[in-house]
Symmetry: C2
Subunit: 350 residues, 2 copies
Amino acid sequence: MNLKIAVLPGDGIGPEVTLQAKKALYAIGVVYDHEFVFEDALMGAVAIDKTGNPLPEQTLNLCLNTDAVLFGAIGDPKYDNNPDAKVRPEQGLLKLRKELGLFANIRPIKPYKSLLDSSPLKREIIEGADFTIFRELTGGVYFGEKKLNDAGTIASDLCEYSEEEITRITHLAFKAAQNRRKKVTMVDKANVLETSRLWRKVVKNVSESYPDVALDFLFVDNAAMQIILNPKQFDVILTENLFGDILSDEASVITGSIGLLASASLGNKKALFEPIHGSYPQAKGKNIANPIASVLSAAMLLEHFGLHKEAKKVYEAVEKAIEYNVVTIDLKADSKFGTNEVGDFISNVI
Amino acid sequence: MNLKIAVLPGDGIGPEVTLQAKKALYAIGVVYDHEFVFEDALMGAVAIDKTGNPLPEQTLNLCLNTDAVLFGAIGDPKYDNNPDAKVRPEQGLLKLRKELGLFANIRPIKPYKSLLDSSPLKREIIEGADFTIFRELTGGVYFGEKKLNDAGTIASDLCEYSEEEITRITHLAFKAAQNRRKKVTMVDKANVLETSRLWRKVVKNVSESYPDVALDFLFVDNAAMQIILNPKQFDVILTENLFGDILSDEASVITGSIGLLASASLGNKKALFEPIHGSYPQAKGKNIANPIASVLSAAMLLEHFGLHKEAKKVYEAVEKAIEYNVVTIDLKADSKFGTNEVGDFISNVI
Ligand SMILES: CC(C)[C@H](C(=O)O)[C@@H](O)C(=O)O
Ligand SMILES: CC(C)[C@H](C(=O)O)[C@@H](O)C(=O)O
């Protein structure tokens, strides 16, 4: 197979972890005789520094004309702590999600057997947990109108959802559930929010086309608690953009490290793959960031193109790294291996 | 001291747990020679059933003319699963918060020594954790304009904040921190939301009047993770309404049961005290609900009126109940004690 892949390393640890994902894909290409052509482009704070724009035209065009996008991380403290900044790195990512129509962000959560003791949660709580979060990615409060009055004393963000936006991701979530344990849990705040009530209504309607899948509802406050109390109760969690952002970072504790979690962002045409962790600026350039989430994003990319054998190979290589303790310090405090060494190990095993 | 207390038992388990709080307050009154006069009133689904209004005029007037409000719980599944209901129980609570000007909801999180093994989190993670969440309670997306178009296909909720709303709770949070470990963590989503950027700016300004208190910032997704990874890092968490709702339910896992967590809602004049748990309709009338959160709300009420000795007595009685295993099944699966027995034990110890 020939694939043209746009690579957006982004900010902080983005470049160093993305490099390991590229190495893994390169190794897969050699072993299975595929041609993966990578083209790097700027996005985020680095793009602002060089071009003034967090998503330069050129980057967007590249992404629109490739088969898939591999993305690293975004964000820089110099913008986070400057409420007056007019241009921010995150705008690049949000715009890219919107322009590529990536309405569904899919985040699988499943602890590795050999890491069951690395979680802050007790082993008996997490052993056997296996769920996937379907987070809506191009709507809600992320994209609604933002206002600040002239005096700078009143601000607002609009959270908006349409039936159509809810319907399309709901179908994806139910289809995924059909291939899993056949349960969808919709998370919302329908006792307070109008948008949540619309979600509830639409999801209920769509669910009627999937009589083999059970549907239940949880308020987001309760869900944030249940994910920790009893993560095994979940199969597919379906939720809106902001709740999905919060719950998936929270759920990362089940696996022991956010450095292990990958995600796929899908739409009608394009697909983007990224670790769920952020740019972790304190670790930048120190060769300590965990590259596994990025490598697993590459595996999700392979799966997306039907390369299941190849994806499995990557998963196995990652499992081997974990089993042999070739991991970064987030997983083993006294580890001697860095980002590069873990990446090398994985691509060598492939 | 003479105190007139409005009691709003509300829905589900509300009445049975609130009864135990009243018993504890009554016992305190006898021992310390205070006169607490209780007056019950309707709010929530029960109020809708009887009057059509989740917060009847009479209830609101009572609350406006008492020294404090003791509240149980609100919510009923028959409304949760009916997106078309025009009147909902929660509107009663939200209206009451607004009318009483209860802009700060304060939720202390601290595990009991003898319950350190009841949490899904490992003992070493939670031992020593001790923080308080200051949740803004009368602004944000809870109170912004809600819209649904005529076709019922597009919904929106507006999240709005003003400098003034942010300033007043920020002062409370910093004052609390001065009497604690002198650290405030502001939780927001300033990389995406305009309201969060206003929060960040205002909180930074206010913090300059408290040079002895350290201030840091966390994005809400990261905070949801950090609360589980390392809860000991927090002293005072300051956040907006919806994030506070999610994070405080999540943080309840640190204590082993949400049935242990109380909260105080304060404003310029009035004060309301309530457990953070919900109406838990499945347990209603079964004498299995944990009354401790409600009893602890009563203790927070005593503290609010400067009755520190008395509050301490309640805390000690609760600790004794926990120590002697006189607890409900959420804390000890094979417990023989119910809501009433735990309440009796506590008021007898007092
Ligand atoms: C960087 C930020 C805008 C982003 C988000 O909130 O979506 C990130 O947290 C994520 O989850 O991908
Ligand atoms: C019942 C509901 C409206 C309420 C809220 O979201 O504020 C509850 O969850 C709480 O935390 O007090």
